[in-house]
């Protein structure tokens, strides 16, 4: 059977992608941010996963205002980096694992988790920035070191799914992966967060104590995190901090007991509190 071998969470701030594309990683503002992922890149190089399932959100790139799929799964062979207004990012084409993705979609829907199947879409910074942070600054003529299955969750139109539902989705995702007859070793990414707000007179909102408790409880008490209401996310983590429900989707795909391998937290990254954690089953 295929196995989920680890979970990773990280913010997916678009400016990180822009700095990589412009070669500005060593500037004083950005060097500590990229430095926070040096261990993680070595860890990932040692892990050598076959597949990364990346839970992220589309930011009005693949999906326009016509449709806001709550949970979707990419079942395509390949995904181009989206043109978000400045041309496509010069990063490798994302190669899918269509057979495994189709199996996951079928298994999860029959398991009463009703995903939207996507056979063609572009992937925006929400997916490509985390790949850069964990796999390195690869260029368009290179290749990502593993296959990728995109799993976009709506977090821009309220209500997004609850944290509890996202956690349950992670559990269903694990059952689907483990029912696949191949031997793939899978890493699951939960992306976005941490506290940030991009709009209104409260823009710039950051809540480090709340973020720290969230990071602590990801290992200690994830079920407590699944009880956080949408209003609490907005009040305590800002209107865009709601992206943290995607971390709980990743968490649901791991064992109840996990070990924190690495943590990084940095303020500010553009408008955002950047958080990153690596978890392995204990």
């Amino acid at each position: 059977m295929a196995r989920i071998v680890a979970g990773v969470t990280t913010s997916h701030v678009p400016a990180i992608g822009a700095m990589i594309d412009q070669g500005r990683q060593q500037e004083p503002y950005w060097a500590p941010i990229f430095g926070g992922f040096e261990f993680s890149k070595r860890w990932m190089a040692d892990l050598k996963p076959d597949v990364a399932i990346v839970i992220y959100n589309d930011h009005a790139s693949a999906f326009d205002a016509s449709i806001f799929p709550t949970f979707a799964l990419g079942c395509a062979d390949r995904y181009l980096p989206a043109d978000e207004g400045w041309g496509r990012r010069p990063v490798p084409t994302v190669m899918g694992h269509a057979d495994l993705a189709c199996h996951i979609a079928q298994h999860m829907i029959l398991d009463e988790f009703d995903l939207t199947v996507v056979n063609r879409m572009d992937v925006d910074h929400g997916l490509t920035v985390p790949l850069n942070l964990l796999f390195g600054d690869l260029k368009a003529d290179q290749a990502w070191p593993c296959q990728v299955i995109p799993l976009p969750i709506n977090v821009i139109q309220y209500p997004p799914p609850t944290g509890k539902r996202c956690y349950a989705m992670g559990q269903a995702l694990r059952r689907a992966v483990e029912s696949w007859p191949g031997n793939e070793r899978v890493v699951v990414f939960g992306t976005g967060g941490m506290s940030h707000q991009l709009q209104g007179t409260r823009a710039g909102f950051i809540n480090t104590p709340w973020d720290t408790r969230f990071l602590d409880n990801l290992t200690r008490d994830p079920l407590a995190l699944t009880r956080i209401t949408h209003a609490e996310y907005v009040r305590e983590a800002g209107s865009e901090g709601i992206e943290l429900v995607m971390w709980l989707a990743m968490r649901g795909a791991l064992d109840e007991r996990v070990r924190e391998v690495y943590r990084f937290y940095h303020v500010p990254c553009s408008n955002t509190a950047l958080g990153h954690i690596i978890l392995e089953n204990d």
């Binding site: 009005a60 205002a65 209500p159 506290s195 823009a203 710039g204 907005v234 305590e236 303020v267 408008n271």
Partner: protein
């Protein structure tokens, strides 16, 4: 569109100051505005919009309030009329502006002041959790 009766779910957000929650009703209200913004993902459309803002907007079915807010680059007004920040980002990117530029405008700060606030750790939660907060 009529103002929806606030459900208990939406009522909870009403107490949070300075924040627009892009719910399903606002999504419906903002649909033409957000689709107009989305059209700016294409270079030809950006060129046509830049050549004549008002003429380009005429084809998208915006309400008068939405159109006026776009023409005035009234970002808070666009949010009030159902705009979503990720869709509006296509418009301010077309204008050559960043998230931080627009966030600063919405908060009433200069971009330099806003950037300094972020460097100093961001906007602290104290005083902006609730409209009933005594410091507001």
């Amino acid at each position: 569109m009529t103002e929806p009766q606030l459900s208990p779910y939406l009522t909870e957000f009403e107490d949070i100051p300075g924040t627009y929650v892009f719910n399903t009703f606002r999504s419906r209200q903002g649909f033409p505005l957000n689709q107009f913004c989305m059209s700016l993902m294409k270079a030809d459309n950006r060129a046509a919009f830049k050549a004549d803002n008002a003429a380009y907007l005429a084809g998208w079915g915006l309400t008068d309030a939405q159109r006026d807010a776009v023409l005035a680059r009234d970002w808070t007004g666009m949010m009030r009329e159902g705009g979503n920040i990720y869709f509006l980002s296509k418009l301010f990117s077309t204008d050559g502006h960043s998230f931080q530029h627009v966030a600063a405008i919405m908060t009433g700060a200069t971009q330099a002041q806003y950037a300094q606030m972020m460097l100093d750790g961001g906007r602290a939660p104290q005083g902006c959790r609730s409209k009933s907060d005594p410091s507001l």
